[in-house]
């Protein structure tokens, strides 16, 4: 893709990023942050690619380090977010409780 194309994608992504989280409730600030954190763990894809194309040892080992770190970020991130969200799991069906 050409640079302007990437720029276009970048700009549109900014809007999407802003819009989708704009109504978040305060209580979800931390899980949302954690989930977003896990998402940027896809740098793993980049790490894999550069490692896979590594020509020197330095590149290889650095790349592998990046793979390890990115994996920690991604995998750990999703797991910890899931744990944070446990409180939103099982909520009994709302029953009409109060009669005025």
């Amino acid at each position: 893709m050409n640079d302007v194309g990437l720029l276009t994608v970048f700009v549109l992504s900014i809007f999407v990023g802003f819009e989708v989280v704009s109504k978040v409730s305060t209580i979800l600030h931390t899980p949302l942050m954690s989930g977003a954190n896990a998402i940027h763990g896809v740098i793993l894809v980049g790490a894999i690619i550069v490692t896979g194309h590594a020509d020197t040892n330095a590149e290889l080992w650095l790349g592998l380090a990046a793979v390890v770190l990115a994996t920690v970020n991604m995998v750990g991130g999703f797991v910890v977010t899931d744990r944070m969200l446990e409180m939103f799991r099982g909520k009994r069906a709302p029953a009409k409780g109060s009669d005025a």
Partner: protein, 456 residues
């Protein structure tokens, strides 16, 4: 460079990430959102492994296993309270990974890149390193390994900008010289910059900084996408960068902190919430939306009204809140202390005016046994009648029986300030670990909570 189907798979992964963020911003779909995000991530990785022509496949797989072996148990076993620092750490390693990827890319083809791509690499190294070292410092702060108070030493005011300028200069040098050594120097200076950046931030502001560093890391990933001509990284990174920036602002707002004050408050002498509120001792304050979620997801709630309810004339708003909770299946009752208010039966007069059914009103002796099994005790403009000081001798209220809200799982106070009640004595419970405060006029706070509850 790739086949079309890989690109499309990447696009699907990107869509997953969008849906993940969307889901994560509503309590109802948050969990599902996270799972969709995880699915997208796995898809992306698998597609990369399968479709890219890669060497060192085994090593890469081993590295992934090692990474998982670190990440999963850590995330699984962490205590609820330690989660923020773990997130900080994860964010930091993500930033480091991005920086390393940029360095490797530079090593392998730095000489041949366009200036634009080079600039993106420099950005990634700089910001990724800052994010890494900054995150590590926040981790140490939150973990209590270093003090959570703002750390400012003499000369810092000079050192920080100096380091920043140095990093910028090194960045420009990389662009002009494409020297490997300078890249490493840039990384080193950036690491220092990250430390200097976070040290002066005080304890309560740390979560805001984590969020900011998280957005930073997102941007580095986006830049990596630019460098690698990878749309997925570009989209995912930008999403995180944009949503993270907005989130940082929202968090700062929710805590009533100006964003810049948070970051540089320690320099300008502004207090950054290192230790305390207006008063000396720290209390936890929260927003109406948090109260709404706490109540909505509780099984049993006890409301303890007091004189403040009458002053605010908030009985109508309170009834509305309770009705809404009832509709959601939360079990709510009012715990009425015999001397709440300023007149015998004051609460009855108020609540009858709002047509609260008599059956919802429980006497102190009737409600007290329920409190240990109560998820949230909501204290609306009451103080003395829930003050545990009454149990100790020597205070003006000693010997007065109280409603034992301190036995509930969580306590939320609605009051305007830290001022005491009728008896004029401080309330220990306000500083308790399980207590949170929503400051403001009770009517106002309740109305806002009702609005937040409706949007859940």
């Amino acid at each position: 460079m790739n086949q079309t189907w890989v690109q499309i798979a990447y696009l699907v992964a990107a869509v997953c990430f969008i849906l993940a963020l969307k889901g994560l911003s509503s309590p109802k779909y948050a969990r599902r959102g996270n799972l969709i995000g995880a699915f997208g991530a796995v898809l992306a990785v698998v597609v990369t492994l399968v479709a890219e022509p890669l060497d060192h496949m085994v090593l890469i797989l081993v590295a992934i296993v090692i990474g998982s072996a670190f990440g999963v148990p850590a995330a699984r076993s962490v205590a609820m309270t330690a989660m923020p620092q773990l997130v900080a750490l994860f964010n930091g390693v993500g930033g480091a990974a991005a920086a390393i990827v940029a360095i490797v890319e530079f090593l392998s083809s730095g000489q041949n890149e366009s200036t634009g791509t080079l600039a993106a690499s420099v950005f990634t190294v700089l910001v990724g390193s800052v994010s890494f070292s900054g995150s590590v410092v926040t981790f140490l702060k939150l973990q209590g390994l270093i003090t959570s108070r703002p750390v400012v030493f003499p000369g810092m005011q000079v050192l920080l900008p100096l380091t920043a300028v140095a990093a910028l200069v090194l960045g420009v040098l990389v662009l002009t010289t494409t020297s490997t050594a300078i890249v490493f120097a840039l990384a080193a200076v950036s690491l220092l910059l990250g430390v200097l950046f976070v040290l002066p931030v005080g304890g309560a502001d740390v979560p805001i900084v984590i969020s900011l560093l998280n957005a930073f890391t997102g941007l580095t990933v986006a830049a990596s996408g630019f460098v690698l001509d990878n749309v997925l990284l570009l989209v995912a990174g930008t999403l995180v960068g944009a949503s993270g920036t907005l989130l940082t602002r929202l968090m700062a707002q929710a805590m009533g902190r100006p964003l810049l004050g948070t970051l540089f408050g320690a320099f300008s002498g502004e207090s950054t919430l290192g230790g305390g509120q207006a008063s000396e001792r720290p209390v936890k304050s929260l927003g109406p939306a948090d109260v709404a979620v706490m109540l909505a997801y509780a099984e049993r709630v006890v409301i303890v009204p007091g004189y403040g309810l009458a002053v605010a004339q908030a009985q109508g708003a309170l009834k509305e809140l309770v009705d809404l909770l009832g509709e959601r299946g939360v079990e709510v009752s009012y715990g009425i202390h015999p001397v709440a208010g300023r007149m015998p039966g004051h609460m009855n007069v108020l609540l009858a005016e709002a047509s609260v059914p008599y059956e919802q009103l429980k006497e102190m002796d009737e409600i007290n046994p329920d409190l240990p099994s109560t998820d949230v005790a909501l204290v609306v403009g009451a103080n003395d009648v829930v003050n545990p000081a009454a149990r100790n001798p020597g205070t003006p209220i000693s010997g007065m029986p109280i409603i034992n809200v301190d036995q509930a799982q969580a306590v939320v106070f609605l009051k305007r300030s830290m001022r005491p009640g009728f008896a004029g004595i401080d309330n220990e419970l306000l500083y308790d670990a399980k207590t949170q405060l929503l400051f403001g006029d009770a009517k106002d706070s309740l109305t806002k909570t009702v609005t937040a509850l409706k949007s859940l």
